[in-house]
């Protein structure tokens, strides 16, 4: 448990075992797309993908490639570009298991994992079909209430792997995430945390109190790989916007298995990208 390893994309991808429970952030928060492509090239299988709390392109590509056994999410969508084509198709054809949730239920379950608490109570949900389909959740009567007060308990999530992209790391493996605190919670809760960054700098992020406040200490980071534009074609807050033209192309191609295969060949498994 010394400092984290500074490595490359292929090594990072090799650290995600088949069948792992992998937690990933929403499209706006720093998605490790370059690492996801490396993961797809290595042919990962059987993932239990936990969106914290939503996902889009990343989930859709992983599902489309047959890498996912189960999706747990409050939402899977390509946002203004439409539904997630491979996800929707796989769900309809029964090729993946689905655990629908709400955003705050997922955040609370992850925070329970972060805190080593066995579960967390979460308001709402009562009377919803989300709850009706979650046999892994429980309803108890709040023992502090005077009268009856049913409350849902969600079990802690301690993912095998947290995978995300951030602007900056240092040579010790400290990672700067600014106000995107869900990334810090993910790293705390997960057994292994794999991060791609735009850039690795020499100065220790913890030495400056301003950057320290937005930093995940290396203790929680297993490995870091440099990947410039590593969230492309998604955005990275404060650095670059999403590539709308590319996303429109993706959504159009992914509407069919053949189109998705063509997209994969061109952008993921093809020669140009293999050198990534």
């Amino acid at each position: 448990m010394g400092n984290s390893t500074i490595t490359d994309l292929d090594d990072l991808a090799a650290r995600v075992p088949d069948g792992a429970q992998v937690v990933v952030p929403p499209d706006y928060s720093g998605v490790a797309m370059a690492a996801t492509r490396a993961l797809l090239r290595r042919g990962v299988r059987g993932l239990h993908l936990v969106a914290m709390p939503t996902s889009g392109l990343q989930a859709d590509m992983l599902v489309g490639a047959g890498a996912v056994a189960m999706v747990e999410a409050a939402s899977i969508t390509m946002g203004e570009f439409g539904g997630a084509p491979c996800f929707v198709r796989a769900l309809r054809e029964g090729r993946i298991a689905m655990r629908d949730a709400t955003c705050p239920a997922l955040h609370s379950a992850l925070q329970a994992g972060q805190k080593g608490a066995p579960f967390m109570p979460i308001r709402g949900l009562l009377g919803s079909d989300i709850l009706a389909h979650r046999d892994d959740w429980r309803v108890i009567d709040n023992p502090f209430a005077d009268g009856s007060d049913p409350v849902v308990l969600v079990p802690a999530i301690r993912p095998d792997v947290a995978l995300f992209h951030a602007p900056l790391a240092d040579r010790e493996g400290n990672v700067w995430i600014g106000v995107r605190r869900e990334l810090l919670v993910m790293a705390h809760a997960a057994h292994a945390t794999l991060v791609t960054v735009e850039r690795v700098q020499d100065e220790n992020l913890l030495d400056d109190p301003r950057t320290a406040a937005g930093t995940i200490p290396a203790l929680y980071v297993s490995a870091v790989a440099e990947a410039a534009q590593g969230a492309w074609p998604l955005q990275l807050w404060g650095h670059y916007g999403l590539d709308g033209e590319h996303l429109r192309t993706y959504v159009a191609q992914a509407r069919s298995d053949e189109g998705f295969a063509a997209y994969m060949a061109e952008h993921v498994t093809g020669k140009a990208e293999a050198a990534e």
Binding site: P25, P26, Y28, S29, M52, P53, T54, A73, A74, S75, I76, T77, G79, E80, G83, A84, F87, V88, L91, R92, E93, G94, A97, M98, D100, A101, T102, C103, P104, A105, H107, S108, Q111, I122, R123, G124, L125, L126, G127, S128, D129, I130, L131, H133, G147, S148, D149, P150, V151, V179, R180, R181, E182, L183, L184, V185
Partner: protein, 246 residues
């Protein structure tokens, strides 16, 4: 454009009236009309109304990650929020998951429930908003309850639905009776038109008012100042939704 305003300007004005007096309005992703309405109310309040817009940099001051919107709402610091649904029924149940066939293998799958089954319970004033008023959306009974409109006694629920805004009309929601009541018909819309396009039963007062058109000073504000603010997040919407400033 009718009677000196665009359809979007009318809906913004209707939503804005529902938000008056709110201390803090939060607006989810992909919600240009609620967002514009919230910004309008803030401008009218002289800054007393705070607005948080997910996806906006300038109008989002959260510093504790994705959980903060929900924590903030549960703390009682968010007075109004917006929800929609692929299906909405007469008890204000909303469905953001799917339709046709059996869950999870629905024929049509929507993105998912997001934070609905939490915010619908804790935010005092939830406004349902849909830009499509058809029997496809307004169904007798949703096929999947992402979040229920009403809860049994004993369920912790300081929040819930207050009103629903559509392109045809404004509904009020009676939480005790668990029913919508037609509050006003937008200019030019008939009761029959609403009935024909609504799959659930709702209450109708003896005299149905007509929705007030946007006040001229508010139209000025929208066209001169809000248009620019909302363009940060929804440039395409901002370009098409407003009439030119006088």
């Amino acid at each position: 454009m009718s009677a000196g305003h665009t359809p979007q300007e009318l809906l913004i004005a209707v939503v804005a009236r529902l938000l008056e007096g709110c201390g803090h309005v939060a607006v989810g992703a992909s919600s240009p009309i609620p967002g514009a309405a919230a910004l309008l109310v803030r401008a009218l309040s002289g800054g007393a109304t705070r607005v948080s817009i997910l996806g906006s940099t300038r109008n989002n001051f959260f510093t504790n990650g994705g959980t903060e919107l929900f924590d903030c709402a549960a703390q009682g610091r968010i007075d109004a929020f917006f929800l929609g649904g692929g299906q909405i029924d007469g008890q204000a149940n909303i469905n953001l998951v799917g339709a046709g066939g059996e869950y999870p293998r629905h024929k049509v799958r929507w993105p998912g429930s997001f934070g609905s089954a939490f915010l619908y319970f804790v935010v005092p004033k939830v406004i349902l908003f849909r830009e499509e008023h058809t029997r496809r959306v307004f169904v007798p009974r949703v096929e999947f309850i992402s979040a229920p409109g009403v809860s049994e006694p004993g369920v912790y629920r300081p929040g819930g639905p207050q009103a629903m805004v559509t392109p045809l009309c404004l509904f009020a929601f009676d939480r005790d009776r668990g029913r919508f009541r037609l509050a006003s018909l937008h200019p030019g819309v008939t009761l029959e038109q609403v009935r024909d396009n609504t799959g659930f039963d709702f209450d109708v007062p003896d005299a149905v008012p007509t929705t007030a058109v946007p006040e001229p000073d508010r139209l000025d504000l929208l066209r001169n100042s809000i248009r620019g603010e909302i363009a940060e997040i929804y440039p395409r919407f901002a370009a098409g939704a407003f009439a030119d400033a006088a």
